[in-house]
Amino acid sequence: MRFLPLNSAQRQGLLGSAMLSLLILAIVGAYYLWGESYQARMLYAVFVNLLVVVGLQVFTGNANITSFSHAAFMGIAAYVAAICVTPIAMKAISLPDAPWGLNAFELSALSAALLALLITGLLGLATGLFMARLTGVGVTIVSIAILVIVHSIFLYRTDIFKGNQALFGIPKIFDLPQITALVIVAIFIARAFRESAVGLKLRASADDEVGARAMGVDVFKVRLIAWVVGTLFFATAGIAYAFYLGTISARPFYFNFVFLTVSMLILGGLRSVTGAVFGTLMISMGLELVRWLETGPVISGIKFPEVLGLSGLLLGVVIVAVMAFLPRGIMGNREIEDFVKRKR
């Protein structure tokens, strides 16, 4: 590895990313060996969450500034991709009133995805130019405003977005192999970003903004870069979401999802990519278990009653408990390879 122009942290980053990728591959492998087909959908959803949470780590984790607008960017990308890729014949039914000829064209999956990335990325740049100037608290508050604004546009432009009704007829383009590949690439990129010069400066500015500025770090620039990179992760997640489910609606791109993903990041430990991955996997598994209990399952002959609202209740409890007892997350500042090293 000596010929690679990487410093030791970056080489470790490669190692850590590879280990996390193995973990992901192991999960997918387990599914193909023993899983039931209905679990594919579940696993896909977990991986979409993973894309989002790893993307959150890029800005929120490194800059240590929480932002809540990611569901908005994800939703924008999902809608752009969906509207572009859905066949004209289908859109005549699903989007009969769409303005600006939105229902009169269709793109290939690749160009639809690229267009969605481009548009979301530009919006990320536009908001980022403004966000990167704010104080940490300001970013958090304005990011909520962005989320609310975008959501209300989704809801009230029913001619384009169908609001809370489903926008249906999106062809199914992705499946488990594609999202697995995306997740692995995302992990590598997020980790590479963390260990890059920009990531390092960003983390330094998070620890001591004044000091970092004094050392010549252009805090505005590094924040902006992280913000836009993060946005692209969310866009990818949105595209992957739309390309699998066949229908999308505005509802999932809102607060519940936002707080779910942020809790995943915080439970894992927002300063580390490993934390992002672990937090996502843990909360996803826990919730899946509760959802199963909620349906009133039969366990060893006993039929349990159906309890509506239990999974929601538990999500709330998990969030409150993590905030109260584990605000720094289970990983803290550590990455996966740190464990291996210590064992040696």
Partner: protein
């Protein structure tokens, strides 16, 4: 002219409701840096209490009104005790997520013990009648709402300026530690803030119930979001800002409804929020943002 007066009243009453809720958010934020997203569930709790009191105790609306306000004050103070005390002094995100977690928990408790569908509670509907003042026909509820809000704001101003606890709250917004160094108990100041916030939520709850006539687990969330945006416009943590932001939102909403052609009515919210975005680009910290750096408290 009549039309103008009607629409002005419309705008004022919208704004009044937003301002009441926004003030409740702002007073807690100004003192402990917590964006209390569970504020909406305090309102919903008031609604559910009304259902329970209405079935078990009395249908007298005035007794119920007192009961609703008391229930909201109780809920607000109890939430601080149970949930927010552990994250006192934590950063904004921790507080915000805790508040949201609490909000989800309460919504789902309402769901578990109530019903996902609306439950009727119509005792306050009588507040909403069409009355004629001269040749102008207006909604009595809108008048009550506007007047009550103005009175509440005046009472709050009196409380904050003239009483020791109120003064301590204003001082705590600037330097909580120094207030404690003056021997004022932190718990009292914070409980006071939550009590006031609950009281305002109770008033808002009465008007919301008068308009809806039913309760639902999620009924508090949207009003609080609008109030949140009002706070952002006005400057987060600034009480005058919350009032200003609330009324500005109400006025803009009605103005957009009037000015846009009927067919584009659904766009009102989007236009309002686009204007909000413009305000934020113009003044990222809100119109009346507090002078100090908004940040960690206590």
């Amino acid at each position: 002219m009549d039309y103008f007066i009607q629409q002005s009243l419309n705008a004022l009453s919208f704004g009044a409701e937003y301002a009441l809720i926004a003030l409740g958010l702002a007073i807690v934020f100004s003192i402990m840096g917590l964006v209390n997203f569970a504020h909406g569930e305090v309102i919903a709790f008031g609604g559910y209490s009304m259902v329970i009191m209405g079935t078990l105790l009395t249908n007298n609306p005035f007794v119920l009104m007192v009961g609703v306000v008391a229930a909201c004050v109780f809920a607000s103070v109890a939430l601080e005790r149970v949930a927010f005390r552990t994250v006192r002094g934590a950063d904004l995100t921790t507080g915000l997520l805790t508040a949201f977690g609490v909000s989800i928990i309460l919504q789902n408790l309402f769901l578990l013990f109530g019903s996902p569908r609306p439950i009727a509670a119509t005792q306050f509907i009588f507040l909403d009648r069409t009355i004629a003042i001269g040749s102008i026909r207006v909604s009595s509820l809108q008048i009550y709402e506007t007047v009550t809000t103005l009175l509440a704001i005046l009472a709050l101003m009196f409380f904050l300026r003239r009483t020791t606890l109120g003064m301590a709250m204003r001082a705590a917004a600037l330097d909580f530690e120094m207030v404690r160094l003056c021997g004022v108990r932190a718990n009292r100041v914070i409980a006071g803030a939550f009590a006031i916030s609950g009281l305002l939520a109770g008033l808002a709850c009465i008007f919301i119930m008068a308009r809806r006539g039913s309760v639902q687990p999620h009924m508090g969330f949207d009003p609080v979001l609008v109030a949140f945006v009002a706070c952002v416009i006005g400057g987060f943590g600034s009480l005058p800002g919350a009032v200003l932001g609330g009324f500005l939102l109400g006025i803009t909403e009605v103005a957009v409804l009037i000015l846009l052609p009927q067919s584009a009515g659904g766009l009102a919210h989007a236009v309002v929020f686009a204007l909000v975005a413009l305000v934020l680009i113009w003044r990222p910290d809100g119109i009346l943002s507090p002078a100090r750096e908004k940040g960690d408290k206590i």
